[in-house]
Symmetry: C2
Subunit: 343 residues, 2 copies
């Protein structure tokens, strides 16, 4: 049940990515909100269908103004701060904080000469990192989706707790996870123009600035064999574009919920997929995932994988029945991917 | 100039801690907001007096509903998310990110048996920390104010950049800064009741859980001589209560903008201030600060310091003309305090 006080309002609605699978698309605002009803004390309320455990974003639309809930915290999504709640599972599950050793998440500031701006990377270090001052670790570069930012894999994704739990159970290799902002603007801009400029600098920032900075700052194993890149939605396209263009830098690739695009397997990504023998040798893991309820994306992934089959490119595919374009899916995606990395 | 679109609203106001010094008290909502005027396109706007450089929180009050600005980010203040902006100085100043080595801020999760909850500490490590794997560092425990949380000293306070700049200039000893949540609830509660229970567990959490956790997790110099505690407003009262009751744990004390309270120098804090010789020996730095525009607080500090003079307790006092109960003051307070710690 959602409830908000707005005694003078004429119309109040809940815009929520929960209980309505069709609302779990790219933009909740483009979908049908819930109408709320007012009581005599000026409170508006609505009770949604019971959601499963997980993370849900929502806002109130009060006489047309997008309004955050003072009773919960916000996250950056939809290109602005958005309210969210976590519906707990009955028992602590793979993404919950549990009684296991915890890695730190470090905020690291650095200057980007390419964009002319100060940036920050959020870097998960595994629990044992400080206790083994000579050991070097592999690195997963993990990207958010469109209208999100570098914090999203923590608030929405719970990436740090997923890694803590996997590592404690011996189900993942201890690794660093680097989360940085993929909505990177050219110098002088504070937002990406629409449409984005053709020379969006994130590829160069990732390869020429972020990876060298991480290798210089943390005890990484600085070699392609020990680097993975993965991302969700917009971040999955960036992953494909960047990792496949820089196979001297990355060897493991994770593609979560990519939007449908044209896909000529012989020409896309510089044509590297056409040489299956080379790709299968260089890409140690080519992981794809989608939920069956993000229908166009799911069908688009199946289409691409059929093309990869035709040329003989190997991959791993995981699908999740009933899940849409949302964090419940991407938490499961990271959990499965991370368990297979650097093996 | 503040501007927000609300075509259907009858009345829109700006609640802002800027341009109106009298609004920089405990609660901006209790003070006079700015009325905004509507144009024919449904936008409401108001132009405030020009504020000086610094950090300012604000919200829109749209037909009585507290509304965040979609055009800026939020911080936790007033017990809920609140919009804020940073007005830059003409030249980068002591709290701005500059071209100097940067320490990391680490988010560290740990379990509190006292509260029965998982907590997180935010820990600034100085730039050289990872490069000197055997060196041990002193620690400043730095507390936020009421209705804020452990993130406030970063978003509002820019504590990490203040330390970066001081350390780079050789004006501060490299140190860790630990920021944790002082609004600590007893088990079973998710908010502090009003009035707070007499056994607010934060003192025990700080002394029995946070300090030992930090000493076990980071390369600290684990001795009273190398520990400081400081805080602003509510956090300054917690600092006085906790540090003066645990002089075996802390040796440096920073008191920023404490609200006026009864102050019998012979009996308060267990009477420890009455023995000036002992206090002057044990407290290596007893730092007090206030702004002249937070009038009652300023007068209350002067009153207490006069009492300390009477019994011969030594202290350092810094006052800032024209500054009120706000981050411009507390950034300056931290800057001055940190330059004097552990000397």
């Amino acid at each position: 049940m959602f409830r908000v006080k707005a005694p003078l309002a004429k119309k109040v609605q809940l815009v929520a990515m929960m209980g309505k699978p069709e609302n779990n698309g790219y933009s909740a605002l483009a979908k049908e909100p819930y109408d709320m009803t007012q009581d005599q004390d000026g409170f508006w309320s609505v009770t949604t269908a019971p959601p499963g455990p997980g993370y849900y974003e929502y806002t109130f639309l009060i006489d047309g103004v997008v309004t955050m809930d003072l009773g919960s915290t916000t996250t950056f999504s939809g290109d602005h701060e958005t309210s969210h709640i976590e519906v707990p599972a009955q028992e602590p599950t793979f993404y919950d904080v549990q009684n296991v050793p915890h890695g730190d998440v470090r905020q690291h500031g650095y200057h980007s000469d390419i964009t002319g701006k100060w940036r920050r990377a959020l870097v998960y270090t595994p629990p044992e990192y400080d206790a083994n001052p000579t050991r070097r670790y592999p690195v997963l570069y993990l990207q958010h989706g469109g209208t999100q930012n570098e914090t999203s894999w923590l608030t929405g994704g719970k990436a740090n707790f997923i890694l803590d739990n996997l590592i404690a159970a011996g189900q993942a290799v201890p690794m660093l996870v680097v989360m940085d902002n993929g909505s990177t603007f050219p110098p002088g801009l504070t937002r990406l123009p629409d449409p984005p400029p053709p020379d969006n600098p994130f590829e160069r920032v990732m390869v020429n600035e972020i990876v060298p900075m991480v290798d210089a700052t943390y005890r990484t194993a600085p070699h392609r064999e020990h680097r993975a890149m993965a991302g969700l939605s917009m971040g999955s396209h960036q992953t494909l574009q960047i990792a496949l263009a820089h196979l001297d830098v990355f060897s493991h690739i994770g593609v979560f919920s990519p939007a449908p695009t044209a896909f000529d397997v012989h020409t896309i990504y510089g044509g590297v997929l056409a040489n299956a023998a080379a790709i299968n040798r260089q890409v140690r893991l080519f992981w794809w995932g989608a939920g069956t309820a993000e229908v166009a994306i799911y069908e688009g992934v199946k289409y691409r994988l059929a093309r990869l089959d035709e040329v003989g490119v190997k991959y791993v595919f995981r699908e999740w029945p009933g899940l849409a374009h949302e964090w419940r899916l991407w938490r499961r995606s990271l959990h499965d991917l991370a368990s297979r990395l650097f093996r």
